[in-house]
């Protein structure tokens, strides 16, 4: 079989499949996101009640914007909050689980290793292919004031080894980035990070 024979075979697929192929996607994708965001809101409220709304209020500033979940702020304030969280032990790791659950429900994510820092974020290379990105693709990760850095659960209780956003020491580290926007230009792919989770720290 060659490509042309394959192409001609595709030309005889069922009419029922062809008829729907060019139609817009069902609304359920958007509806699902809406429902996920709503579910996330409910989980968040319930979680906050169970584990202590006071600690959330102190260490995190929760903001909902549309169906996108932002948790805290980046920079020294967040780094300090993150330090506090890890200092407070197991109770706070539950918060990270909750965040992960919400993140998985409403966002897309990609695993990268960091190749260099820029003024507005960092460059990374995909190390685990997923539905959207192949291995080895370079991506520019944009960070802003609402992006938050998280550390893996195994590190809970340990001091944060570095300020992920402010130094270049994390080059080579493996991270999971969740994002709420992806823009492709002729020369690059940019994603706007909502969270950056350290999975494996580079040796310094």
């Amino acid at each position: 079989m060659n490509q042309l024979q394959l192409l001609e075979a595709i030309g005889s697929v069922d009419d029922t499949l062809l008829q729907t192929a060019r139609q817009p996607l069902p609304i359920k994708r958007h509806f699902a996101r809406y429902m996920a965001a709503t579910a996330a809101s409910i989980c968040l409220i319930a979680g906050a009640s169970v584990w202590g709304a006071r600690q959330f209020a102190v260490h995190s500033k929760l903001v909902f914007s549309g169906n996108v979940f932002h948790h805290g702020t980046i920079g020294s304030e967040t780094a300090s909050a993150a330090d506090d969280i890890f200092d407070q032990g197991q109770e706070e790791t539950n918060e990270i689980h909750l965040s992960d659950t919400i993140r998985d429900m409403v966002m897309e994510s990609v695993d990268l290793y960091i190749t260099g820092w820029n003024t507005d974020g960092f460059s990374g290379v995909v190390n685990v292919a997923n539905d959207f990105f192949e291995d080895g693709i370079e991506i520019q990760v944009l960070m802003n004031d609402s992006t938050i850095c998280l550390y893996m659960n195994e590190q809970a209780g340990a001091p944060c080894p570095y300020d992920m956003n402010a130094s270049n020491t994390a080059v080579g580290s493996y991270v999971t980035v969740t994002y709420n926007d992806c823009i492709q230009t002729d020369t690059s792919i940019q994603i706007s990070a909502t969270t950056v989770t350290l999975n494996k720290q580079a040796k310094t």
Binding site: M1, A9, S12, L17, Q23, P24
Partner: protein, 185 residues
């Protein structure tokens, strides 16, 4: 005019059938032809040939889905036209890119048996497409049946082009694995 009325015009040998077809499906057929050929005048000729082919096919055919019936004719005529034109020179359109992409899914060898078994291939392609999730089905058919460009597919479904490319890469890998499993490669 609804499809059954247009088909009836063909069966009555009423030439207004072609006019009605052009009004309702002219753009649709043109988009397929243009996807293959990448040239407006060639695409227009393919569309006109489609009307003639449909005129000759009905009767005896009485298609239940006139759009896909016409689309398949347009696609076949356009591929034939592309093949003839390509014998003279390499042209535009999506055909070359698509054939390059599909090369990942097939072997380079040809044999007579496989040519004869085209219908069996089609059955397997149908089976394969049905195994895909809904979005992947649509993307696969938009690209490899309708010959839409990556840019158009991305726009149609609201995804980035890189996402479409990644999804198509995964679909092609699945197709290759499927064809290998079924003994075509």
């Amino acid at each position: 005019m609804d499809d059954s009325a247009i088909v009836s015009l063909y069966w009555q040998r009423d030439e207004s059938a072609i006019t009605e077809t052009a009004v309702k499906y002219g753009k649709y057929c043109f988009s397929i032809a243009y996807g293959v050929l990448g040239n407006a005048s060639d695409a227009e000729e393919s569309v006109n040939d489609t009307y003639l082919d449909a005129w000759n096919a009905m009767p005896p055919s009485r298609p239940t889905m006139l759009s896909t019936f016409l689309g398949k004719i347009t696609r076949r005529i356009s591929i034939d036209r592309w093949r003839k034109r390509n014998a003279e020179k390499r042209g535009g359109g999506q055909m070359e890119a698509i054939l390059d992409e599909l090369a990942e899914c097939v072997s380079s060898e040809e044999n007579v048996e496989q040519t004869v078994e085209q219908q069996m291939i089609t059955d397997h392609i149908n089976a394969f497409v049905r195994t895909l999730p809904d979005v992947e089905q649509r993307i696969f058919l938009c690209r490899y049946f309708y010959m839409d460009s990556i840019k158009d597919i991305a726009k149609r479904f609201g995804f980035s082009q890189s996402k479409i490319k990644s999804m198509m890469l995964r679909i092609r890998r699945k197709l290759r694995a499927f064809l290998e499993k079924e003994g075509w490669l």
